[in-house]
Symmetry: C2
Subunit: 716 residues, 2 copies
Amino acid sequence: MNVPDPSLTPFFAPKGIAVIGASSNPVKLGYGLARNLVQSNYQGMVHFVNPRGGSLLGRPMYPGIALVPDPVDLAILLIPAGAIPDALRECGARGLGAAVIASGGFRETGAQGAALEAECLQIARQHGMRLLGPNCIGLLDTHLPLDATFLPPPGPPPGDVAFISHSGAICAAVIDWARGQGFGLSRLVSLGNQVDVNETDVLSALAADPFTRVLTLYLEGVSDGRRFVEEAGRVARQKPVVALKVGRYASGQRAVASHTGALAGQENAFNAAFRRAGVIRADTSEEMFDWARALAWCPPPSGRAMAVLTDAGGPGVTAADALEANGLRLARLEDQTLEALRASLPPAASLHNPVDMLASASPEQYAGCLSILLADSGVDGVLVILPPPPMYTAGAVAKALIPVIHSAEKPVIIALMGERLIQEAVEHFRAARVPEYRFPERAASALAILAQRAEFLQRRQDPPERFDGADAESVGALIQEYTAAHPPHSSVMLSQAAAQRLMGAYGIPIPPAGLADTPQEAARLAQQLGFPVALKIASEDISHKSDIGGVLLNLTDAQAVMRGFRTVMENAQKALPAASLQGVQVQPMMPSGQDVIIGAVQDPQFGALVMFGSGGVEVEGLKDVAFSLAPLTRLEADHLLESTWAGRKLRGYRDIPAGDRQAVIEAVLRLAQMAADHPQLAEIEINPLRVLPDGGGVLALDVRARLQFQAETGMN
Amino acid sequence: MNVPDPSLTPFFAPKGIAVIGASSNPVKLGYGLARNLVQSNYQGMVHFVNPRGGSLLGRPMYPGIALVPDPVDLAILLIPAGAIPDALRECGARGLGAAVIASGGFRETGAQGAALEAECLQIARQHGMRLLGPNCIGLLDTHLPLDATFLPPPGPPPGDVAFISHSGAICAAVIDWARGQGFGLSRLVSLGNQVDVNETDVLSALAADPFTRVLTLYLEGVSDGRRFVEEAGRVARQKPVVALKVGRYASGQRAVASHTGALAGQENAFNAAFRRAGVIRADTSEEMFDWARALAWCPPPSGRAMAVLTDAGGPGVTAADALEANGLRLARLEDQTLEALRASLPPAASLHNPVDMLASASPEQYAGCLSILLADSGVDGVLVILPPPPMYTAGAVAKALIPVIHSAEKPVIIALMGERLIQEAVEHFRAARVPEYRFPERAASALAILAQRAEFLQRRQDPPERFDGADAESVGALIQEYTAAHPPHSSVMLSQAAAQRLMGAYGIPIPPAGLADTPQEAARLAQQLGFPVALKIASEDISHKSDIGGVLLNLTDAQAVMRGFRTVMENAQKALPAASLQGVQVQPMMPSGQDVIIGAVQDPQFGALVMFGSGGVEVEGLKDVAFSLAPLTRLEADHLLESTWAGRKLRGYRDIPAGDRQAVIEAVLRLAQMAADHPQLAEIEINPLRVLPDGGGVLALDVRARLQFQAETGMN
């Protein structure tokens, strides 16, 4: 068995390509594919294979791949599914490194197709061959150039944006739409059923392409969540990655035993994964390509302070709104900027940001004012608004602006409003690779993404925090005990004592407590722990302890504790004579503080996921929670807290005193590490985690944990 | 003084128009206006006025309006601002009913311009003349036809959408963009500085136009909030109104003394006003016109269950996501629908919603399957996805679909994906007035707006609830007392006693309590009120009563109350010897229950605004609040509760028992009515309102109210 090529070189730089299933019938896809290959002006060898022989587009049709002359390292198969395995064997024997199976009729049609697909993979593995597809439309590279798709021409113009798609159908629409929007593609890969090469595999291959400046992904899921995060994270440091993840609302309800489990879902997991990797998540296809153009063409801003340059008040206000709505802010202009603007503009112009030059603005004024704004050290980028100018053409304004934009080291985005009257300007900007959008809102959104990207690149890259004192072994041993005692595939809640052992092993503080068998022992324990204390009946059989008089609070001396011991035991015996009583638990009364929730679950795609937020019984109603992949860095834990009200409140709010924020971060890091270390720990939740005033630390007042023996079936 | 014409007839159906400032110089706006009027094929009389005389476009230029022959009822003025008052006087003398002042140079330039503007209004009023502008681009009607703007041609094609704009600059862009998007306008009105005719005035005039099916508004504010709500509410019952309100983030911070005041802001007020009026609020210009087309062209759906018809899986998933994200749901198809689909489609097709016909779908299959879906009684509307089909043209599919769509009584929206390959289909759909959008997300958003509109029309129209027992007079008297005792323009917090009188006057329950002067009286009161009781020192000089030992809780007998009286008085005297003590307040201990907040403020634009939500000290952090205009109907109060977690929780949640929801609604209605009745009541807030278990009612535990003597200056 040969080792498959991880570089995917034969797909993206083949020396020779054989089309197996080339057809001289123009209505067949096998004809379209052959035609595209030849017309794409691909410089390597192109061979056609068809058992009937003959010729096509001036080239011979070889009856079999074995007869094709060198060089040939990539096959594209467009023959009925049933004939694919044999064809693949021949390709393997011929020494090809890669094959694209464009044909359908595999897993998407049912069990038989799935078996056929598995057979194909096995054959490919035997020959060290990589497979793209099946059931895909192929791939193309506009710079090589190479068009190995069967889509109707014309293909996309050359560009900077690579597109990777789980949907073949959307490729044709995207190519056509991109052309109309005036941007090209560098490469396009249709992944189909992903029997071998998947979305993660192609990331590096596309990032390595010098013509690709931005990667865009149309994802229906990911094959291996953690690998995707790792690989996308590496790629995103080099080039922006924008993803549209569809299938959001496909409800994947699972049985859960915690608030964390109920609130964690595919969407929170994907958001956490994308955030971790630095992948920018788009909500709509339009957004994805709007952003891709800006990311491909603009320098990164060094901050979020933007200027708006306009010749009309209304759109200026709209732009200011849109900037703020997108988390940007209006720059405060320096005095010398205002002076320079004043010298260039009529007295009635509005000099303060948004800068309104008035409707009389000439191309020279547009260009001059833009230069002035770009020179202001407090301006990180400029949004230029250009409705059809009443006295000049938008095209003339565009021509004046472009040199200024090209020489700037700050991003400039154009809101070019209208349609026919601005067409010439559209063409100028597109040719100059200056992003233009029809409305200020879309332009502002693109500027915001540039700021987000710049911040991502500036962010420190710490390794996830590891707590060295964690006793993973004893947790492993505990899980082992439980595993031995329960049937496989079952699920069980840990006892309170076991849950507390987990806390101990990972250094999350729990309230001190002791179990007393006699009134005297209870009093001794109370003395040790410090008065006042609470007493609680200890019994696994009694769940609502306070309802049956099994809890006494605020006992202040030994006498009261001894009396209390007897009361609690009697109440329990009276209420539930059959319950087995382990004694009485003695705890000091808890100091007051803020209560939060921390939880972790195992996501089927991305593994351990940690949650933080507002605790108590209303967690699922308030939904004031946030998620992160586990383990996480201290900085990420800090962001996690900050993104909830519960976390912000820890700094104190009105008469609520500040809590020990650092201790909360510590607890989050430790719980996350525990979940990451032990995938059998399906759910664990501390609710509430009592946060004491600053320096006082935290206490896990209640811990619930569920073990799942053998991972739940991965897919959602 | 004549009475101005409220119908605005002279603007929209003038018999003759005089252009004052018509110019034969083609670079002047006065030329553009004259040319547009003539070229627009306006059937009434067109007269040109210019003191220099001569002729223009084959017509004479009269030296003055007095010399213009009949009929003439509308003047359009495009002369320097300083010359406008005299020209208006002449128009008035000539008996004209209306004038458009297109010229700038008024309020927008400063105090002098504002004075000039006021003078113009005064002249117009003297002559019973209505004014549009100044500083506007005019108006047009594509059906009359009439183009009284000076914008460069071509004007918009005739259409169904009226556009009213506070920004003149955006009009040119919108006209141009609409043309490119394939929809026309019915009327366009540029309002300029609104010295007379404002956004509210034109609503009815445009709604009365038979060619206008939808009204769109670009608003920078409203002139008279309550009148706008009333008028827009009336118009919206007849025709959809979509508004883009800009200037959202223009921060208008005011001094406030309550959570309600801090959270209420221009945006919440506008949202509440639009909701009350049934005005659909768009977030972006693109959204506004996307929605307008669907509202103009589609029948209303009778529910939110939608079907997706596609020839490709990927976009089908995107569409399903987008439907759910927009609050719609995927219809569950009936068995006979599935059978009919099965009979029409290949075996591998996916019959369940989204219905994926596969890439081979023919125009006939598209049309046939659409008919089948429309016949399903569980389907309220259909989103059809049409990427460039691999085997047919999109144009052929469009031609097959259009007759089915036209004969349907349910909305059908098209996601037509691509650009050049779908151009023919675009033309067919536009000509047939079928809304098409480039992406499934925008199509889904349009469908959702249709559902929202249908629900608005179905909603019961109750008058706001009035609580007949309200004693508005005694509140008026109380406000009078305060007003007499305080300087004008000042602001004062009501005393606790006065705030409680407000509660009594509007029937909002407060905890029973009594003031005791002696230990014996305290004990008697406690007996009356029922044990256990709480004692509180009564003193206006002591704000944090519990801090100084001025509060005792849970006293269970007369002895304890008498002892407690002495303790509380002593503690107060010890802590604050100078404080004047009114005695001790005796209250029964409050039963437990859920706590919420209700508040009301006076919004400078829309008047009384009521808030409901999660109470306590964290109101501004949790932001679990919602607003409504006051007064409100019982149904609106119900919606107000439902839109917050605090309100939903009143039905009970986990171990939190249900609260008396009806009593909360009652309290909201009463507080809203109080605020609406008394505009001097700048802020009033009940926090917390204790909600007792069902049937137990509510108790206003703490009430804060602020009076403002003389309304705050209206604008924000």
